[in-house]
Symmetry: C2
Subunit: 154 residues, 2 copies
């Protein structure tokens, strides 16, 4: 058999191997790849999941989704269009601001969300298997500070 492409870097990572941002990006890419893989048979991508998941647990407008998920507003439009066509979410006009559209999951969307969430949680077991319980706790405490920096936007 041929060696894993990841085996070599593991022994000699070079300068980037000490760059925390590079590793955050790569770790995220690994996780996203696994997520897309496991969601594919549901016809979803992690991007879709991020919309449904947020809409299912928070009242949120498209503008807020764009900020939260670091997407362009026009991207949110087409993502929500697609999810709406598939009957997973619907748009409702905000009672406080008739310009804003609140994205709400349908009953079907809730089911899909629950299943997708379950599948993704299983991938986490694998992804974070190398970490001790304490390391996982530390990571969960650290990440929000890096993912949502207090100082202004990105």
């Amino acid at each position: 058999m041929t060696a894993s492409p990841l085996a070599t870097p593991r022994t000699d990572l070079g300068q980037l191997g000490t760059d925390p941002v590079f590793m955050l990006i790569r770790a995220g890419a690994v996780g996203r790849a696994r997520g897309n893989e496991v969601l594919r048979k549901m016809g979803l991508k992690t991007r879709d999941y991020s919309i449904i998941s947020t809409a299912a647990t928070r009242e949120i407008t498209q503008k807020e989704l764009a900020d939260f998920l670091m997407l362009n507003p026009s991207q949110v439009v087409s993502l929500v269009d697609d999810l709406e066509t598939r009957g997973l979410v619907k748009r409702t006009t905000s009672p406080h601001d008739r310009r804003a559209k609140i994205v709400v999951p349908t009953a079907k969307g809730e089911k899909v969300f629950a299943e997708a969430r379950e599948r993704l949680t299983q991938t986490h077991e694998v992804l974070f298997a190398p970490l001790s319980t304490q390391e996982r706790e530390t990571l969960l405490r650290i990440l929000p500070q890096l993912a949502f920096p207090a100082d202004l936007a990105v």
Copy 2:
């Protein structure tokens, strides 16, 4: 003034706010955005930096770069083409395998790398400012395991 788009999520993150992979992706995106911002005046992106940085500290072929950076081989071709045109790297044929091209930084490339590295290190000071010394150490110990999983490729 208007509130930061990141202020709201900070108070109520919804379900994704507890998803470690989502936060890895977002933290990486925040870091990359800051990196691109600070490298822009050098005419570089973090993608270019990742090539130069690795070539400057390791003997590496284009194929290995593709695996290490999770890029398509054809992407590496055009990235290296561009860097070579700008006189920052050159290609040399591997003495062990005449198919393989080793990417080597030029003297100019070394200088650019050193300056870029300095600039990026400064952004890290800001990005990781919220973390204690111990948290930073833990993070640096954890990340390689997530970024370079032992089990096969992505």
